[in-house]
Each structure stands twice: as structure tokens, then as C-alpha cells.
Symmetry: C2
Subunit: 113 residues, 2 copies
Amino acid sequence: MTRTKPIATIDPEAKGVTLINIYEVATDNQTKLVKLLAEGTEKVMRTMRGFVSVSIHQSLDGTRVANYAQWESKEDFDRMLKSPEAQAQMKQFAALAKSVSPVLYRVSSVHRG
Amino acid sequence: MTRTKPIATIDPEAKGVTLINIYEVATDNQTKLVKLLAEGTEKVMRTMRGFVSVSIHQSLDGTRVANYAQWESKEDFDRMLKSPEAQAQMKQFAALAKSVSPVLYRVSSVHRG
């Protein structure tokens, strides 16, 4: 899939919330989960009100997948959580993982080199 | 401290590595750790070869601090880990936490709204 601006920004002035969700996986499932998260994000989450970005990460050791997701507000994020479509996606993601640790954050500061 | 460009970017084409380090904290220590991480990053990590960015996050529920740190290469990251100055900083960070979960990742994909 071609995208013109596939870059997310992290800005301490932004008003939104950030979900950092760490999936612990069997190494056999890491690639599958990365693919499923990308597809589910494009199909469902990306179309929802308040969606800013999702950045999907795979750990070098094969045991983790991390989803760094930005929403415009906690209200937008909570609305997504209640959507049956999003719930069905999240169930599929979780089925490929040993454990899921979703936590909501705000950006405190950014430091650049 | 004033910075002209306090924004980090997440780019799937970038060659570097990303550390996502989740600190579990007593709620009393969350603000202290956020401050110490910012100071330590400015004083020590930011000066090191291969440093790209550090973005510090505090969880809405008060129980977590997340450090999203980008380095140009795994070699740069490993060199930082071996530095006595960085080790002293990381020891101070860990002393404010109940647990520390550092994991190294590569960015698989970025999806924007």
C-alpha cells in the first residue's frame, strides 16, 4: 500500500492521548500479529473519528509487538473501545498473543539530538 | 528549557532502533521519575553518538512512565548501555520504579488518519 506521508509525530504540545499496547507473543506469531494489526488498523481504526496514527513495532528478539497509537482525545479513544467493529478486531489481535498490556498516556516531554 | 523543534517522528523507513521502556511506579513517584528522565536525557543520553530522540510519557492512571527512545543503530544503543555515565543515570531511574521493562524494537509500519 502506498502512502504519501507515512510518518507519525510525537509532540508534547498535542492535546491527545497515546495508547502504548505491548503484546507478548510466541515468536511464530510475531509476523502474523504485525500483519493483522496493520490490516485491522487500515480497515477499522483508521476510519474512526479522532484517529491520529498507529505505529506498529516488532521486537528484535521476536517476543513482543508494540502498538503506539495516538487519538485526538480520550473521548475518541473510549468511543472506539465501545465500537463492536473495533472490539472484534481487538479480539483477533489478542488471540495471537500470550498477554496484552494496554496503557493510556500523555506525552510529558520530547528531547531530540 | 526552550526548544525550536520538540517533535519526534516515527518513520518505518528509518534504519534505527526504538527502545520502549515501561516503568511501573508508585503513583507518588510518577512525576519525580518523569522529571528525572527528562533531566538525565538532556544531561547524558542526548549528548551521545547515535541519539535521535527520547519521548517521555506518563500514564493517565498514574502507575506507569513510558520512555520511547530512538537510536540510529543497535551499535549506538549498545555503546550507550556500556557507558558508566548512562549506567549511573539508569540506576537512578530504576530506583524510582517498582519494575522496568526495556525492549528493543524496529518500526514495522505507520498508519495515519
